[in-house]
């Protein structure tokens, strides 16, 4: 399946993302999930970025939190709401908000 997973928190209380399998997996960082794209802890970026997935972060949510584009990990594509709508309809058949 082509699955787009929304991650909206910096700390997750569920391990579902570690178990899900998808032929095409997208991880879309929104809300406080955008910290994964930009914040390193003890010099290490979020383990989420190691996943074999297409990674996206919402620019509006980065900006709201004072995170600049230059701080975003190079593996993550910064998108805006309009891009997100296209992603939802064109790239992923099923959506999961974890």
């Amino acid at each position: 399946m082509k699955l787009g997973v929304f991650v909206s928190d910096f700390r997750n209380t569920v391990d579902t993302l570690d178990r899900l399998k998808a032929e095409k997996l997208g991880i879309i960082l929104v809300q406080n999930g955008v910290y994964h794209a930009s914040i390193k802890e003890n010099g290490k970026s979020s383990p989420l970025l190691e996943k074999s997935a297409n990674l996206y972060a919402l620019s509006e949510d980065l900006e709201t939190r004072g995170l600049t584009g230059s701080s975003v990990d190079s593996r993550v594509k910064v998108i805006n709401y309009s891009d997100l709508v296209d992603l939802i309809f064109n790239d992923y058949e099923k959506l999961a908000w974890l």
């Binding site: 909206s8 309009s82 997100l84 309809f89 908000w97």
Partner: protein
């Protein structure tokens, strides 16, 4: 043009996830898509009318009204809403009231479903 149904559930009022859901809906509509919004659990508090727009608080009413004008169907779970003391005259005009099967029926005819749960 395709159809997106967004399920808006608990904990969304009082969180910025509601702002997210409404902004996503608005963007999708502006790009020519059809959008349905189902409110359940705590999110039903968002359809109360006469919300005062204070800039310290996320507010939904203005955005719900704009979406309704653009043809978005918004429906609130009747039981969840009544449990919160919000009766039909207290609601934003144009919001539909129905049971949970409304959500399933809309999902049935949708190309995409974003069910926003969480804590």
């Amino acid at each position: 043009m395709a159809t997106l149904t967004i399920g808006v559930f608990s904990s969304l009022v009082g969180s910025m996830t509601l702002d997210f859901a409404l902004k996503l809906a608005e963007t999708a509509v502006n790009k020519g898509h059809k959008v349905n919004i189902w409110l359940s659990g705590n999110a039903t508090a968002g359809i109360k009318n006469h919300q005062k727009h204070l800039k310290d608080y996320s507010t939904g009413e203005k955005h719900f009204r704009a979406l309704l004008e653009k043809g978005v169907e918004v429906c609130t779970c009747e039981a969840c809403t009544l449990a919160r003391g919000i009766n039909k005259p207290d609601a934003i005009e144009g919001v539909q009231w129905n049971a949970m099967h409304w959500y399933l029926a809309k999902i049935h005819t949708s190309d995409r479903v974003l069910h926003i749960g969480g804590e």
